[in-house]
Point group: C2
Chain length 181, copies 2
DNA sequence: CTGATGTTTCAGTAATTTCTGAAAGTTTAA
DNA sequence: TTAAACTTTCAGAAATTACTGAAACATCAG
């Protein structure tokens, strides 16, 4: 499992970005490796390519599975597990997005909803609740939009973008049409 | 600087989510506190409210400033600095989004661009470059869209959402209109 | 200038997160 | 049922990240 310079630079970059993307360095590297490699890899191959322990690979795979980002395959006459990325690049992006929403936004929305149910008990809380309300609405709007965009195919998105008019123009236009009728 | 239960739960939640949102626990708490508090706060007030050292507040403020999320004010006859959130909730969300893009996406785009300039030197690299190309295009499309959405006011977004038709329907509709003409 | 009142920096420490490797667990073929 | 081939788990070690508090720095009023 010797990696060429270019491939290695990609894999290492995924590692460095890993923590920013929601997982840790090795998990990032593992994911990068699986994406960039045409064939599915065994745990041992991964551990050798990245110089990490076998146990760490196992934990990393578990983590990637919790993000629904890897698949396990089996080959006939072979008891080893072969790992490969789950779905197309687009699907992967969608999943990272969704999972991050679950981890980063949903808990906040739920806390805000709870807090907004109570009556404010003093002046400070009135202000606080106003702010919480604003944040709540913003997050709801955001997740709604995200879901809409994700439900579109990447081809459609690209086509639309290439039409030359920005999304906002498109929407302004439609807005006017709808309001007129 | 005694916090009511409800406000405290919000602030602590911001702390717990902090690391997921791109900063660390105390920075998250500090930001939550500034948002939820009507008046600007001094460094000492923050350190007392959150039970953290004065030095930590200073570093946290610096971090929040690097995200363009806090402002400093001065009051007449007072040499202390008063901190408050910069801009509306919408603007803050926009900034978090932008800054995260800078930290999470831009470096990757730049690496991919560099790698794509070179000719692949073997079969494996041909495959690797295909994948990198896909990722590159996806990220470009995504950032483009994000920018478009951010350029719209939240009121406009809300209005549109409440029209009842989903974004994708709106876009499909416009798409047809444009293609017809 | 000087001291009072503030802010920033940073070395050392504390807390947290990640990683290893050995032991335990699982599956399969014979 | 056994043993070979593989995976998972997890306690402790290593690495990383965050925090403190004291010293250095900055600004201003008198």
């Amino acid at each position: 499992m010797k990696l060429t310079t270019k491939i290695e630079s990609f894999v290492m970059h995924c590692g460095e970005m890993g923590s920013r993307w929601g997982f840790n360095r090795t998990v990032g590297q593992m994911y990068g490796l699986l994406i960039i490699h045409e064939n599915a890899l065994t745990a041992v191959e991964i551990s050798e390519a990245l110089n990490i322990s076998r146990g760490n690979v196992s934990m990393g795979i578990k983590e990637l599975q919790s993000w629904r980002l890897v698949q396990v395959q089996h080959k006939p006459k072979d008891r080893k597990e072969y790992y490969s990325p789950a779905g197309s690049i687009w699907e992967m992006a969608t999943r990272v997005f969704e999972e991050r929403r679950k981890r980063e936004v949903d808990p906040t929305l739920s806390l805000l909803r709870d807090n907004l149910l109570d009556e404010p008990s003093n002046q400070k809380e009135v202000y606080a609740q106003e702010k919480m309300h604003e944040i709540h609405d913003l997050l709801e709007t955001g997740t709604h939009w995200a879901r809409e965009l994700q439900s579109m195919s990447p081809e459609k998105l690209k086509t639309l973008m290439k039409l030359g008019s920005g999304v906002s123009k498109v929407i302004n236009f439609t807005d006017k049409l709808i309001n007129k009728s």
